[in-house]
């Protein structure tokens, strides 16, 4: 009944050789827009099917996706657009300042106040109780708003309110409330009330009762002042922009009289504020409004305000007032450097007050130590110096330095100078600075802080080449002497952590630039360990320690050197908090993957890396996110790929065994390990040129065994399936027949477990297409697998087909039949005298059976059964159609909701047509059409698939021609 056509693969291959030029591999890239080269035939026609060879790729136009995108990725287009937009935006924003003086605009390299804000708030905290003493007027005050310049303090008849016992958080909330009520008062046109709020708030700044909190208080209250300044400015601005908005670069002449009068009114009102501090702050807050009045207003006001600050007795309050004035000055008139300098010189001039009686009394009263008190100054002084140092000429900085030196070489000032000035400047004078640090007066200000600041600069800029070693030695000498006792350490733990970190970073940096690397760094690490271990001090310093690691990693890219530092791993051990530890390991791994170019077998590296990877792996638990797992797995895989023992395959295998034991929780790693082992087996095969010795044969069997016992531990069924198949192929290639058999059998064995839907990228999708792909692939492999001597003929094929039959396919799907259809070419190929492909040194069925008629008839029987099954199915579909026709009418007449996308009739006929057509194709390609029955069947199928016209004409026409010519040939 049925016979397969005899094939001459060689001849067919010759005939089907592509005539056109093949794809040029030189510029071939899978992700490039597809270049269509007309290949008449699919390359490497493995299954020997030429029938469907006029494949779609030949006539396809350029890839629709790439043609639509016109070669440019839309994301990168957006990115490019935003890049070109961004400068334009900043440009328009900065034009306001540009007008002032083109060359002195504050650039983006000026660290803005906003970035300091948070730091100060976080740093200066207190647990003491705070109080807000507000002397708020009643609303009566607003009547004297108008034009009259009643001194504000005179018309206040309100109540005094004192809020006591506030915690720091309450205090901040209160201030924020005030900020809100300021905005509300302003919005409801109660300008006097708004002013009163601002005055009362700035008055709070003269209160130094909880001095540790003062810097934070300053930050909170100056926020309110900023709000106020903005409100006033905007108000006057809108008054002038009546017909059309005022240009950014307006002059006094553009301002109308009403606006000027209002502005003047504000200044008169503020000038009559009784207390010094509020008057200063509020006037500074609206400094910018001077622009509405006259050209030189700001220029004259700044020096005056600067001088007025001298009237503030408390040095801390004065320092912060100066900082505020500098800040406003930098914002409004960055070109007026003189008053900045003036401020700093005044600050220096009054600095002796710090040791004065009133300050000392206050400290005793509040039980604050001098060193702690001094650190309260640093934000203010740092800010002032930053303003001064910004784009300042070298001589000015030198002058500043000299002045500080003259002033008894105060440690606090020195510290601020080092922090504020350009790192290059400091680095160039590093020796000087070390000298100054050495003989500076240590009044309460610990020296290691100074080294910390110096280190900070040196970490950014390199000192002159010739001095490096001297600096390193000098600094090291001092620092080792400054081993402060434990008590002191605990007391300044904030400070000490930071310092220590900077000091360490510096030394690591220094040792690098002075090229003495490993030994010094090791010493530094040892030192850090020594300092941080007692009392578990490292627990508070994780961020700093992490940066130390990062710094080291940027310099050490040779991991054998890195790991040979004996202190490195103990250093790592200090990270005892899991999350931090993993973070650190991760950063090490990232650097490793990035910079390790050569494969390695260095036991030092391997041990250390295994340890690190194990740490990462052990952090995985049930709560770990998928993403996290994936990235960890990627890092570990990166490491595994870098390991190679060269020709020492056994060592490699044992490494894999160890790795498997270590990383058992991360599936991607296991998959990688199986691939590695498979690759190892193939490598062995390559080395032995295909013929294994007894020893290598045993080794590849061991590899197979490794895979065989590893695969079942994977949870993803498809990775198991594909790995079974792959490992089976590898085993086959290595002549391990029974192993290959076992792999394939195992694959068939788990087929029924394949769920009908799997989750792909978080979405549930039908697994059918994956399964079909796998089965087709599997069938292709089965061609070369020799039958097991103890089992029957075509044991695996039958097993597979049985599984397919028993598998619960989706309803209304032809997947099963399609598997049958695709099994037919395999059977056809198996019946050939010489197989299309074979594996060297493995005898396939062709040799085993040698074309035995019994074998052939067995195949034929199988084919017959399959075709029978297929035809049954076709018939069933046809029956559906007959049966459903009246139902179909009924559905439409009753207008009942229908759950089918297509009317059932169309659906089943379409399916029928498609199936018939594919069977027809297979018969045409592989069947012997001289057999009458078969040709009759083919004709019937042809008619069937054209009956409903669901066939693509183009394809069917090409089939038609093909069938004619093949008939002709035969």
């Amino acid at each position: 009944f049925l016979s397969c056509s005899r094939r001459n693969y060689e001849a067919e291959l010759q005939r089907c050789r592509p005539e056109a030029a093949p794809v040029e591999f030189g510029d071939y890239h899978p992700l490039k827009p597809i270049m269509v080269t007309d290949t008449k035939s699919r390359r490497g026609a493995r299954k020997g099917s030429t029938s469907s060879s006029s494949s779609s790729s030949s006539s396809a136009p350029a890839d629709p996706l790439s043609s639509m995108l016109d070669g440019t990725d839309p994301l990168s287009m957006f990115a490019a657009a935003s890049v070109s937009e961004a400068p334009a935006m900043t440009h328009s924003a900065s034009t306001g300042k540009k007008r002032e003086k083109e060359e002195e605009v504050v650039g983006p390299d000026f660290e803005p106040w906003s970035s300091k804000r948070g730091e100060i708030l976080a740093r200066f905290t207190t647990t003491e109780k705070l109080s807000i003493n507000l002397f708020m007027g009643s609303d009566k005050g607003k009547t004297c708003g108008c034009i009259l310049d009643l001194p504000v303090c005179m018309c206040v008849q309100g109540s005094q309110r004192e809020l006591l016992n506030l915690s720091q958080q309450d205090y901040a909330n209160r201030i924020e409330e005030l900020n809100q009520s300021l905005k509300e008062a302003w919005a409801s046109d109660q300008k006097v009330k708004a002013l009163k709020i601002v005055i009362q708030c700035s008055k709070l700044l003269s209160d130094t009762s909880v001095i540790q909190f003062y810097p934070s208080k300053f930050v909170l209250i100056t926020d309110i002042l900023d709000t106020f300044g903005r409100l006033v400015y905007d108000r006057i601005w809108t008054m002038c922009s009546d017909p059309r908005p005022l240009p950014d670069s307006f002059t006094v002449d553009d301002v109308n009289d009403t606006a000027k009068e209002t502005c003047l009114n504000w200044f008169f009102k503020i000038a009559s504020i009784r207390e010094l501090l509020p008057r200063l702050y509020v006037e500074a807050a609206i400094l910018k409004c001077n622009r509405f009045l006259n050209k030189t207003g700001i220029q004259e006001t700044l020096p005056r305000l600067t001088a007025m600050i001298r009237g503030i007795g408390d040095p801390l309050v004065a320092a912060y007032t100066r900082a505020y004035l500098c800040r406003v000055g930098m914002e409004v008139a960055p070109h007026l450097k003189d008053s900045l300098n003036r401020n700093f010189f005044d600050l220096l001039g009054t600095f002796r007050q710090v040791s004065g009686e009133s300050v000392q009394n206050q400290l005793v009263q509040q039980r604050v130590e001098v060193p702690e008190y001094l650190t309260l100054y640093s934000p203010a002084i740092n800010w002032i110096l930053q303003c001064i140092a910004y784009r300042a000429p070298e001589p000015l900085l030198t002058e500043m330095m000299e002045r500080c030196k003259k002033l008894g070489n105060n440690a606090l000032l020195l510290n601020s100078v080092m922090r504020a000035f350009r790192p290059e400047f400091v680095a160039a004078r590093a020796t000087d600075f070390i000298g100054m640090i050495k003989d500076c007066d240590e009044a309460g200000f610990p020296k290691h802080l100074l080294f910390g600041s110096l280190g900070r600069s040196l970490a950014c800029a390199d000192p002159p080449e010739s001095e490096r070693l001297t600096i390193l030695n000098e600094a090291w000498k001092v620092v080792t002497k400054v081993r402060s006792p434990q008590v002191e350490y605990r007391c300044y733990d904030y400070i000490c952590d930071h310092t220590f970190y900077y000091v360490s970073i510096t030394f690591i940096h220094l040792s690098f630039i002075s090229r003495s690397q490993k030994r010094e760094v090791n010493t530094v690490l040892a030192d850090i360990i020594k300092h941080m271990t007692p009392d578990r001090a490292f627990e508070d310093a994780y961020p700093q320690l992490q940066s130390v690691i990062r710094k080291i990693l940027t310099y050490f890219q040779d991991f054998s050197v890195l790991f040979s530092m004996e202190r490195f791993l103990p250093f790592l051990d200090m990270f005892q908090k899991d999350s931090v530890r993993v973070e650190v390991c991760r950063s090490i791994m990232e650097v490793f993957i990035k910079h390790q170019v050569e494969l390695t077998r260095d036991p030092v590296i391997l041990n250390a890396m295994l340890h690190i990877c194990k740490t990462m792996h052990d952090s995985v638990n049930a709560l770990t996110l998928e993403d996290e797992k994936r990235s960890l797995a990627l890092l570990i895989i990166g490491f595994i790929r870098m390991v190679s023992f060269g020709r020492d395959f056994e060592q490699q295998l044992s490494f894999c065994v160890e790795a498997r034991a270590t990383f058992c929780n991360l599936e991607p790693v296991l998959v990688q390990l199986i691939h590695t082992v498979n690759q190892l087996a193939m490598e062995t095969c390559r080395v032995m040129r295909g013929s294994h010795s007894r020893k290598t044969a045993a080794f590849v069997r061991a590899c197979a065994a490794y895979s065989f016992i590893t695969i079942p531990s994977l949870s993803s069924i498809f990775s198991r399936l594909s790995l079974y198949l792959l490992s089976g192929q590898v085993a086959l290639a290595n002549q391990c027949l029974s192993q290959a058999d076992a792999f394939l059998k195992a694959a068939v064995g788990i087929l029924p477990d394949v769920p009908r839907s799997i989750s792909v990228e978080g979405k549930l999708r039908s697994s059918e297409s994956f399964l079909l792909d796998f089965i087709n692939n599997f069938l292709a492999t089965l061609l070369v697998v020799p039958d097991h001597p103890e089992h029957g003929v075509l044991y695996l094929v039958r097993g597979l087909l049985n599984m397919v039959q028993d598998y619960t396919w989706e309803d209304n799907s032809d997947a099963k039949v399609r598997v049958y259809v695709s099994a037919l070419p395999l059977l056809a190929a198996m019946s050939q005298e010489t197989y299309l492909y074979s594996i060297p040194k493995v005898d396939s069925n062709e040799t085993l059976y040698g074309g035995d008629p019994k074998f052939l008839s067995e195949i034929n029987k199988l084919c017959e059964t399959l075709i029978g099954q297929i035809l049954d199915n076709l018939k069933a579909l046809g029956r559906d159609e007959v049966r459903q026709e009246p139902a179909h009418c009924y559905v439409f007449s009753s207008c009942a909701p229908t759950s089918f996308f297509l009317p059932p009739l169309q659906q089943s006929t379409r399916r029928q047509g498609a199936l018939a057509f594919s069977l027809f194709g297979v018969l045409l390609a592989h069947g012997d059409l001289r057999n009458n029955k078969l040709s009759q069947l083919a004709v019937n199928l042809w008619n069937l698939c054209h009956k409903h016209g669901y066939c693509e004409t183009g394809i069917s026409v090409s089939f038609h021609t093909h069938s004619r010519c093949s008939t002709h040939i035969s």
């Binding site: 003269s206 207390e275 001088a307 007025m308 001298r310 007795g313």
Partner: protein, 297 residues
């Protein structure tokens, strides 16, 4: 039915000088047409004098108040009886600021016992059933700038325990030396009072240094005259224990309306003084007084 009546002066700062024209508009806003019996506008400049109860006794102060002195007065009829159309109506007006005879227009001044004030008053007469409407508007007169040039003459001062008067126990005084100068005591009213003060040394911590601006008003009357000094404003220039040897600026803006060029007439006088007040930590007050002569240039 709502009507609003307003007077809008042309100058935003409302400042005029003698001989100038006070110009502006009367603004009427009503929703419906408005019947009225005439709108009139008057301008008046007055000096109000009041005797303080301190110098002449409560009874006299109440009854014997001095008659106000009229400096300028004029009246015009803006509109005859008729109708104002609905919506916004602006009626412009002008008053020349010229005195009759040899009267002088003194500068606007708001004090305690002496008040010099210029007002515009707009009245709208209406029928018996509706209330008359009226609106006042103050404008400010600055006197003619002084012809003679003001040459600033700095005034130096030194304060030590020995320079003090008015103390009980000189022996209990702490030691201190405060030096300084005012850049001028004949000041231009539109410019701030400036100078410097230096705390050279002080045994007791300083709590505060303040500038106290004082007005001295003298009113003549049948029984003689009353002279009263009252504070206008107090400006703190130093707070807390200031750094010794460092010059602290003296800076005070003269408040508008509450100060005027020093004025001396037959009936009343307005003069100004400034006190430098040093408050010691034990709340001792040290005051140094400087009479000022204000003028306008």
């Amino acid at each position: 039915m709502s009507v609003t009546l307003d007077i809008r002066l042309k100058r935003a700062n409302k400042v005029y000088h003698e001989g100038e024209v006070v110009a502006g508009v009367i603004l009427l806003v009503c929703k419906e047409a408005l019947q009225h019996h005439g709108i009139s506008l008057s301008m008046e400049g007055l000096v109000n004098l009041q005797l303080s109860s301190k110098s002449v006794g409560v009874f006299e102060a109440f009854y014997n108040s001095v008659k106000p002195i009229q400096l300028i007065s004029s009246n015009i009829e803006v509109a005859k009886a008729g109708k104002v159309p609905a919506g916004k109506t602006e009626i412009p007006f002008e008053f020349p600021l010229i005195t009759k005879g040899n009267k002088v227009l003194y500068e606007t001044y708001h004090g305690v016992f002496v008040n010099i004030q210029y007002t515009l008053r707009c009245d709208m007469k209406r029928s018996l059933l509706a209330k008359d409407l009226s609106r006042n508007c103050e404008f400010i007169v600055h006197c003619q700038p002084q012809k003679a040039k003001v040459v600033p003459t700095p005034v130096n001062f030194t304060i030590t325990p020995d320079t003090l008067q008015n103390i009980r126990e000189r022996s209990s005084l702490p030691k201190f030396l405060i030096r300084g100068h005012l850049d001028a005591t004949n000041c231009v009213i539109s410019q701030p009072l400036t100078g410097e003060v230096v705390v050279e040394n002080s045994d007791v911590a300083i709590k505060s240094i303040e500038l106290q601006l004082v007005r001295v008003e003298t009113c003549g009357c049948a029984e003689g005259y009353a002279r009263d000094a009252t504070e206008i404003q107090n400006i703190q220039i130093a707070e807390g224990d200031v750094c010794h040897g460092l010059a602290i600026p003296i800076y005070m803006v003269f408040p508008r309306l509450f100060t005027c060029p020093t004025l001396e007439t037959t009936n009343f006088k307005v003069e100004f003084e400034v006190n430098i007040v040093i408050v010691l930590h034990d709340d001792h007050l040290i005051t140094e007084n400087f009479p000022l002569k204000l003028c306008r240039v």
